[in-house]
Assembly symmetry: C2
């Protein structure tokens, strides 16, 4: 059976992260059962989203204007939290516990993938430190080899600038059981012990 | 953070089967990282697919012409295999073992969901039996309450027409272990025993 339009739809869907052939087929059948207007609307949203959303000129968060909602918010305090991706920023925002600003690196240093510091927004971060009154920098990159290397690299750059630099805490997750924690996490949890 | 275009994209993605908020967000970030051309192409495929693919006039398989590729194929034998959905038809085609034709019901009888025989393509199946030389009908609806009821309903209709009617076999799946088979399947596997 050769159905060019259907196969094309499946190929397009299989490009998406987490969508294999089976899911793509399931979604394609679902889409074919929708009224035409639903598909046309979805197509419109898809083709317009890149025009409407641009990176924030200052912090590289998603934005519909020059500056993102966080950068425009004058109640935000003078910290900068450095994250790899906008998804990380959103995860922190969801806690409601952080009231400072952000800086999105757009990745992490990864020589294996040919990503060096110059491919990230680190230069722009340094410019911000010159231009803005920043009280402290919190490095919230992932606890992967790449994330750790990136945090290390930035912390070294910041040492000369007399800006307090923090790394977010390692430890057991909330609800985590000691019995099931891996050794490395357990070790970090002990290292990070706090008086109560 | 209010990003209307981004939230709209996530809502659209969450409409898809098997896509929750987390997956939708992951896909949305992925899409934003793609070049604009990729999104525009995806949008074009989406908005055109319903115009290009119509149900086959005879069997309700997907088709880009009046008749689908199976119905147009003159080497197909005179059986009709009755399935609930096009996905089932594709699953059977993939085996390469069936050389007859199909009839897609577009669902199964389900009084709970307000789906009666008149909502399926059963009337059209009967018309085909009058018009075409059909050697036998194989009922390949699902082994669910609805699928079984639909098979039962159709088999009763066909009884008067002296057309051989079959139901596909119940039994243990290939590679299935007796130890883990549920009782109902085990019972059906015993009932369906064949001399070897």
């Amino acid at each position: 059976m050769t159905l060019k339009a259907f196969d094309m739809l499946i190929s397009e869907l299989m490009m998406l992260p987490g969508i294999g052939r089976k899911s793509a087929q399931r979604i394609a059948f679902f889409l074919l059962k929708q009224p035409d207007g639903v598909l046309k609307k979805m197509a419109a949203v898809l083709s317009q989203v890149k025009d409407k959303i641009k990176p924030c000129e200052r912090c590289f968060n998603l934005s519909e204007d020059g500056l993102c909602a966080v950068c425009r918010d004058e109640r935000r305090t003078a910290e900068i939290c450095v994250v790899q991706d906008v998804a990380d920023l959103m995860a922190i925002e969801k806690t409601g516990e952080y009231s400072g600003k952000y800086h999105v690196l757009n990745g992490a240093i990864s020589p294996m993938d040919g990503i060096g510091p110059e491919n990230l927004t680190i230069g722009k971060l340094l410019e911000r430190l010159d231009a803005e009154a920043v009280s402290e920098v919190i490095l919230a990159t992932n606890f992967t080899v790449e994330g750790e290397a990136t945090a290390m690299y930035i912390s070294r750059l910041l040492k000369n600038r007399r800006i307090k630099t923090y790394r977010i805490a390692h430890g057991l997750p909330v609800g985590g059981s000691l019995e099931y924690a891996d050794e490395a996490t357990m070790m970090k949890a002990l290292e990070g012990k706090r008086e109560i």
